[in-house]
Symmetry: C2
Subunit: 334 residues, 2 copies
Amino acid sequence: MTAGRPTIRHVAERAGVSLKTVSRVINDEPNVAEPTAARVNAAIAELGFRRNDLARSLRHGRSSATLGLVIEDVANPFYSAITQAVENVARERGFMVIAGSCSEDPELERDLVQALLRRRVDALVLVPAAASHDWLAAEQTPVVFLDRPPVGMEADAVVLDNAGGARLAVEHLLAHGHERIACVADPEELVTASERVAGYRAALSAAGIEPDPRLVRTDVRDPEHSQAIVAELLALPETIRPTALFTGNNRHTVGALRALRGHARELALVGFDDFELADLLATPTTVVRHDSHRMGVEAAQLVFARLDGDEDPPRRVVLPTELVPRGSGEVPPP
Amino acid sequence: MTAGRPTIRHVAERAGVSLKTVSRVINDEPNVAEPTAARVNAAIAELGFRRNDLARSLRHGRSSATLGLVIEDVANPFYSAITQAVENVARERGFMVIAGSCSEDPELERDLVQALLRRRVDALVLVPAAASHDWLAAEQTPVVFLDRPPVGMEADAVVLDNAGGARLAVEHLLAHGHERIACVADPEELVTASERVAGYRAALSAAGIEPDPRLVRTDVRDPEHSQAIVAELLALPETIRPTALFTGNNRHTVGALRALRGHARELALVGFDDFELADLLATPTTVVRHDSHRMGVEAAQLVFARLDGDEDPPRRVVLPTELVPRGSGEVPPP
DNA sequence: TTGTATGCGTTATCAG
DNA sequence: CTGATAACGCATACAA
């Protein structure tokens, strides 16, 4: 489709100089006489010439100045914040970002990663969907894992203090007098989910409470489903019914909020992940907050450190979480 | 950084065949004997060879299978929905997307576009920030404008029925008995803003109401600022003070909501753009809704139509809007 | 200050 | 069925 684009050869002919001279002008190299440069620039303007960066990066050892980013879904605010951050850091270094959403599908993830490698991205930022990435281990392209640690290979990673955040949430509910605290989270195959559930359990144990298995639901992914599950929890007999709820991520929190509408004040709620407008809801929502933008920044910085030649053993950056009380988590038990 | 990657030459040597044979195997071309193919595939696996798509697209007339996308800010849900849509359509065609956010900065936009053209993207989807794009007119790369129509060049565009949507909003407020209706919108240099303000004025005029200039604020961009402006409006003397408010986009709506917190029920509100959780707010928010995901799909389809050889004159797709009553827009005047 | 020859990794052409 | 050779657009080494 790039038919008939002018090349430096055309520019050279038009300006009556050699290829190399044009090349020099384009790349601001020294040693080119003022009038010659002027002629070349004129030719460039007249022809509408634009350097072909694909050809340029073909030369040995040259980088494509491109980062690959594979996430779950750009439309999720958590991931779009990450995308924004990676993009910004990349831009400062003159890099562009090719991003792809893999919808938690390991096969699609692998396809995306391979397409990116074929395009010779200089490095990869990856929110892993697959259970293992041994197939990436032999690759020489630097990879930084985001949100979930690498399995099956060694690599840098930026993750959250998931267990700590979950503990904060549950301890907060305990401090407000709750004992029957339910948990709605992703399947525990996901490390983030299992760590958050572990934090939930740890907080309860530390308080001498044995978690009721009927209140721990880790079999759900989409908000519609968690809405249904919270409705189920609300419908339990009074002796079993939870008085408080911990939701394992922003989507589950949204689902829970929908289920709770109408049932107002019947259930205390603390959710993992902050979200816009949480403070403007009918019951402002208490959350475990972290800085998703910063996750992206840290990941991008690790990437560039590697590209700059850092040979240290893989690093792991763990970002903190913090509890933001807004109302929904401070509701006392009935 | 792509040092020492195996090339088809290495594969060829290892398999004891020629370059072309390897190429044939890689591209599933016919006319290669079974055992030969097997030897080549073995060599590919052993060496961890991956085709270099940069070199591939260097060949004359070959496409890079890449789309460029320039938006204002990925972190804004409106744009991330668009990004998701463009990406999905692109994937179906085996294309990837290089996206960049330009923060409404015309210079940055131009830099991004030129970087994308240097990378020989096959086409461009552009939410224009600059006032004119005459500098793009001579380019042979297809461009589709999104959300705002092209100025200074001819090109396809996908836009919203901005005036119609604004009319819907204001007519709704009028129908509920309001006469002093304020408007908070982006500066009118932005076509989207000026069209929405025009719709606002048209609806008032049709009702025989002369808009009070003190109630029309089109000098703002970020939510913090619109929060302040709505606070000003609320502080006006009772004879002037608006009883209803139309906000020109999702960010202004959020700002207004913050200003209104506490002042509950003092001001009816209809906002342009729907947003998640609008229905779960303290006062569920009435909005003018449109399908931002579909905008992205339509734009991507126009792009591929052009890449498939469509030579028709530039098309303009106008997507409809719809009013979603949720409560905040049905508050009667005091 | 300017130019020539060569290579980057792939595909296309045309010959064996 | 297979292979040698020439592009693709640019940059690098080395002359002139």
